[in-house]
């Protein structure tokens, strides 16, 4: 790597430039280690035998999937927890996209009074500490018998996923060419048709990216799921992992927790890496114009 950098730097004939390059490769290595080492250690610990838990070799010596077996042991209920997470995060994402697309379209394309205030309020919603939302919501859900139900997790999740989605979609919609919409309307489309036939296909990539970001946010949620559910069968995966501690009566089952961590995290990481460009565009859509 350094060899390439020096040969590349030579034609420009600047020595400080190549030193800078070397420095940036060093920096890159530090960043990569900081980002990836904890993640790597999780994967490695997951694939050790339970009795090798305290082994510090960088590669698991006898490779083992025993920890994964322990995760899915009957009685732990982790499989069910994964399904619950999928239902909650999926439903939250769908609801968010339906509501968020309309809202973001109105905010990005139509002129009306209090537009900026509405946007400000929507953004501000996601800022409220979850603790101040769940105490009253628990009260409400207890009264209407929603405790241990999916909706008791999905609806509070909207409080932080919806603003995120509106914010992202708003930024995407703003970047789309106005003229096409007008052209369609000149050609006889109604505003609704123009939206359906022109805007929706154009916005699909943005909507898709927003869906991924919304899904990850909902999938990672912990505090709401922890509070609204006290039955094991309704726990989401994040809550289930936190309850592994001490469930076996001996040492803290780090190996099992790491295996469960791999199961919860790796699908997200794969999706994120595949869609890296889109997600970066989506994450930065709001802050940067």
């Amino acid at each position: 790597m350094t060899a390439i950098s020096t040969t590349k730097a030579k034609p420009t004939g600047r020595r400080e430039f190549s030193a800078g390059k070397a420095l940036s490769y060093l920096g890159m290595a530090v960043v990569a280690i900081y980002c990836l080492a904890p993640f790597y250690w999780m994967v490695v610990s997951a694939f050790r035998r339970p009795q090798d838990q305290f082994d510090n070799s960088p590669i698991p010596a006898p490779f083992s999937v025993k920890n994964f077996g322990a995760v899915f042991k009957p009685g732990v209920g982790f499989g069910r927890a994964l399904v619950n997470s999928l239902v909650v995060a999926g439903a939250t994402t769908l609801l968010t996209l339906v509501v968020g697309t309309f809202t973001a379209y109105a905010l990005a394309r139509l002129d009306f009074k209090f537009k900026n205030i509405v946007l400000g309020i929507i953004v501000a919603t996601s800022m409220f500490p979850t603790i101040s939302l769940i105490v009253p919501l628990l009260h409400l859900f207890t009264n209407i018998g929603w405790i241990n139900s999916y909706q008791a997790m999905i609806i509070p999740d909207l409080s932080f996923v919806l603003p995120l989605a509106v914010w992202n979609l708003n930024a995407f919609f703003r970047q789309m060419p106005f003229e096409l919409e007008y052209a369609a309307m000149v050609d006889g489309c109604t505003r609704g048709q123009a939206f359906r036939k022109i805007i929706v296909p154009l916005a699909a990539p943005g909507v898709f990216t927003t869906a991924i970001i919304a899904f990850i946010a909902a999938w990672n949620e912990f505090m709401i799921a922890l509070t609204m559910v006290n039955k094991k069968e309704m726990q989401t995966a994040t809550v289930s992992i936190s309850k592994f501690t001490g469930a076996y009566g001996f040492d803290q089952p780090f190996g099992t927790q790491m295996a469960a961590g791999v199961l919860v995290t790796v699908p997200l990481v794969i999706v994120v890496l595949l869609l890296q460009r889109r997600i970066i565009a989506g994450l930065t859509a709001g802050g940067v114009k």
């Binding site: 800078g20 920096g27 999780m42 809202t103 379209y105 780090f254 961590g261 995290t265």
Partner: protein, 323 residues
């Protein structure tokens, strides 16, 4: 609270008072489109905020939660928490942690953003990918990974520190307990939270950097300015709005940290509580739940975050207005 809440309530009424202005464009259209979102926000923001405000003045226990009328105790909940030294300990933890974590997040994030910007296409994609891995990791997983890394027995960090020469890091790391007292606990918490939150800063800074014309830096270099001078002379002023937004968002996020601390030190370890955990523990942590007290703590935390949010909303609206 009220001055942000009022416009929402007024908005739906707006078009009914002026049904005549339908000539050029149906004026109710935009309001109908945003109505579902406003309903969601009304239910998930305004109603809970009013409720938690009310509950913070009441004595609410498990029986009241089941429907018995709650007794109004006036300011007693607030008097109890504000007069309690323990509340101020958690308050101090919350604020100090936010200051350190935000500074570290912005510093690391900016440096990584600058670094990725210097790399070639392939390398930058690789590093950005690594950075996103940290971003996509659920907080619960991150918290468990870091408690494992910093574990007392068999933790990788203790093993590593013990293996380093004693002159460098001191001795006795083999069985060091990182989660025994607040300071080491918060050190690990900071490393973990920064790990999860700097990627967002890095990619935002990177996106901003890509909008800065390269000629500016070349001109500065010809004029003999160093990288340090270029950053403060060109990059920072141009990216100031982005840094502003990132600063406020980081402050808000770090004030609310819950999951990681909940996993690392837990409800049993009261010494290391922050405001979120303290409020949660009063409201849900024991059989004898004190929702009123928990609410009062939540209100205090909300007020702090609200102050910061107001700054953020102003910044957002100002940016929207100029575009």
């Amino acid at each position: 609270m009220l001055d942000t809440a009022q416009p929402v309530r007024r908005t739906p009424g707006r078009d009914t008072t002026r049904p005549a202005r339908r000539r050029r464009r149906p004026r109710s259209g935009p309001y109908l489109l945003i109505l579902p979102a406003l309903v969601v926000i009304g239910v998930l923001l305004i109603w809970p905020v009013v409720q938690i405000g009310r509950m913070s003045f009441e004595k609410v226990g498990v029986r009241q939660l089941r429907g018995e009328p709650a007794e109004n105790v006036g300011l007693a909940n607030y008097r109890q928490i504000l007069g309690d030294g323990f509340f101020w300990t958690t308050f101090r933890h919350t604020v100090l942690f936010a200051v350190v974590a935000v500074a570290a997040t912005l510093l690391v994030g900016t440096l990584v953003g600058l670094l990725i910007n210097r790399l070639g296409t392939k390398m930058s994609a690789f590093v950005a990918g690594g950075v996103l891995v940290a971003w996509a990791t659920p907080p619960i997983t991150a918290a468990i990974i870091f408690s494992w890394l910093f574990g007392t027995t068999g933790g990788l960090v203790n093993w590593f520190l013990d293996a380093l020469p004693d002159a460098l890091v001191g001795s006795g790391w083999a069985n060091y307990n990182w989660f025994g007292t607040p300071l080491p606990t918060y050190t690990v918490l900071t490393i973990c939270v920064v790990w999860m939150s700097f990627p967002f800063v890095a990619v935002s800074v990177l996106a901003g950097l890509r909008t800065v014309p390269r000629e500016l830096y070349e001109a500065a270099r010809v004029d003999g300015s160093s990288a340090w001078q270029s950053f403060w002379g060109i990059t920072f002023p141009l990216l100031r709005p982005i840094f502003g937004v990132l600063l406020v968002l980081s402050v808000i996020w770090d004030f609310r940290v819950f999951t990681q601390l909940f996993v690392m030190s837990g409800l049993a370890n009261r010494d290391a509580f922050n405001l979120s955990l303290y409020g949660y523990s009063e409201a849900f942590g024991s059989l004898n739940a004190r929702y009123g007290l928990g609410s009062a703590i939540a209100v205090v935390l909300t007020l702090i975050v609200l102050l910061v949010t107001a700054m953020y909303a102003r910044m957002v609206i100002r940016q929207e207005g100029t575009s």
